[in-house]
Symmetry: C2
Subunit: 437 residues, 2 copies
Amino acid sequence: MTDYSMPELIARKRDGGELNADEVAWIVTGYTTGKIPDYQMSAFLMAVVCRGMSEPELAAWTEAMLHSGEVLELSAMTKAKVDKHSTGGVGDKVSIPLAPLVASCGVAVPMMSGRGLGHTGGTLDKLESIPGFRTDISPERFVAQLEEVGVVLAGQSETLVPADRAIYALRDATATVPSIPLIVSSIMSKKLAEDLDALVLDVKVGSGAFMKTKEDAETLARMMVAIGARHGTTVVAHLTDMSQPLGREVGNANEIRESLEVLRGEGPEDLVAVVLLLAEEMLMLGGVAPTRDAARNRLEVALSAGEGLETFRRVIAEQGGNPDVVDDPALLPSPEHLHELLAPRSGFVAECDALTVGRAAVRLGAGRARKDDAIDPAVGITIHAKRGEPVTAGRPLATVGWNDREQLDACLELLAGAWEIADEPRPERPLVLGEVR
Amino acid sequence: MTDYSMPELIARKRDGGELNADEVAWIVTGYTTGKIPDYQMSAFLMAVVCRGMSEPELAAWTEAMLHSGEVLELSAMTKAKVDKHSTGGVGDKVSIPLAPLVASCGVAVPMMSGRGLGHTGGTLDKLESIPGFRTDISPERFVAQLEEVGVVLAGQSETLVPADRAIYALRDATATVPSIPLIVSSIMSKKLAEDLDALVLDVKVGSGAFMKTKEDAETLARMMVAIGARHGTTVVAHLTDMSQPLGREVGNANEIRESLEVLRGEGPEDLVAVVLLLAEEMLMLGGVAPTRDAARNRLEVALSAGEGLETFRRVIAEQGGNPDVVDDPALLPSPEHLHELLAPRSGFVAECDALTVGRAAVRLGAGRARKDDAIDPAVGITIHAKRGEPVTAGRPLATVGWNDREQLDACLELLAGAWEIADEPRPERPLVLGEVR
């Protein structure tokens, strides 16, 4: 590989110029192998935050990250491999019911997820609230379980995309996280390393999401679709609302309980709607349903026959967890105390702000402010009044399950501010905001 | 001092926000003391390159740098202390005749200069071509010589503004040099550490300068004047042309020879004009001349009586150099060979590009491409045809003094491209472009 001058490449990006694929690969490889020091990389990343990346640059950057380590080799699988990724939100437990449900319909789901940070929860943290559940699955076990059960719910393997771990840690310390191309490359390099046939994206929009506007969400979605296409992987993105929490549960064991409700056909309307929207897409992309209607029929059969629930039970058992939680959610960790947050007045919920609820959940101990914070799997918030619903003064807006008085107080300081109550119901806002394919 | 979160401060600057004086001081102090790592500082610096700094931020940044180490204490001096700084150019040896000349008229000149990098030369390198001349002067010797001789031509003391050395080294490695506020703070913190009464700036404009346009030069000059005013130091900036080399000599010993010519009243017109313009300003600011005319008269007396030359002789002697070079410039290092670059056609010089001549001089060995490159004090370029002058095909445009055939070849590859020759003389361009006070 040609040798370049890092200051010259930084200067070009700083001045709004474009790097070619060789230069981009040299930077990613050089940083991952320790040849380029942190201080040059962080200056380059800040230049990217300020100046952006062209689509060819982003494609080259993503490919270089993807090839910084091992990639899964799933070509022996007979089933189509389709995964789902969400850009993250509050109460967003969609992956947990979705993956087993889709797998029970015959599409392989090789899902690698992350942990929660800041106001958004993480799929791995939620799954680990199931007693015994392991998410550190070796590549060999991963492939074997995918063959056998059709779905794996694992953490990112250490050997896959090491460049992403290194670059992400640096971005976190240098305020270079909020850059659409850097977010796209981080997500896509990890998902493409799963050797997928197709990927469905749930791009969250609203206060509780990274993307606050539909325009930004569409930009992100379009880049993801384009990078997938260049790699030969079909990517379909749905934009969904994250201005209020999804479903009624926020917290780790709380969200497993609600996921089990979905798989029993009893989940809350908005959560079920998103799960089915994405599941239909995955069934179509996986070639097991020719149309959205056929996919919906197949999914309704799976739900009423408990096929998704059965597949989830097998995943839990395979991954070391106690499968009895599926029938008896009381086996999940539960808080010692409950506190009811009461409505200060009667009326209709005009807002139930996702960001505020998410931050309150972090203070409660359900999430992490910093990467190495411990979380309490038992604590959480159950929301009784969501947007458009009537409330009566003195009746509960939410129930907070808590273990530590200080954490409860810190949570409550924020939580009440999440609700805005109006005299009349406001016009409904759509849950599904658009799609990019 | 309050403790801040560096990622939060970086994020604010990244998003175009403003930091208060405490936060700015915390960053500069934290970096200088090693509490803030390079990778966070370089991300912050790139954010400054992209988003700029407000005047209060820049003032706080400059003060924090200034107070990162010792400052000179010259309050016992009876004379006014006035220094000059140039933003750097090709053939810009102005400081060398200017400082002794002004000092000979009764203004103290505590001048600390830098080395050359890239296409611009450095005052220290030029002075060190005088056999024996030392520029590493201790603060005690500095004060004593200033009292005795009225002028010191020294390097930056290690104990003054350590923040600037640390930050500059990082900027050099991370492509964060070209930022007007970072340049202003670097210059002003060092100059204010000299405990000056006033400062005269020569802001160079054109291909051979950092500022390519008059607008950028004015912005830089206005910031310098404002930062000086906030500190209580009068700053006057003159904008002068750097689209062609200043004077006729480029190279280290070459420029000492030409400086001696100026002090003998024999220098080339453009160089003498800039020296006198700045010297007049320094005499007025130093209170030894009430008007520009009075200053000019005083300077003409000093030149014709050889007072500046005599002061320079004393400086050389004080600083360990051979003072006989003043009378016998042949004692300066000289090249083994001369090469004449001939005019390819007859006509009038339309351009003699400063940047190209400066780059050619670096290749010849007269300057540094990298900080630790060695330079050859003896080599240089003597320019025979400057803008507006007639040339005859086959007659020399320049004489190159060289020691190494490869370096000569590399120099010549560029040098001829510096000249554009036209049939008719082009309209004259002004040497002095404006002033900011």
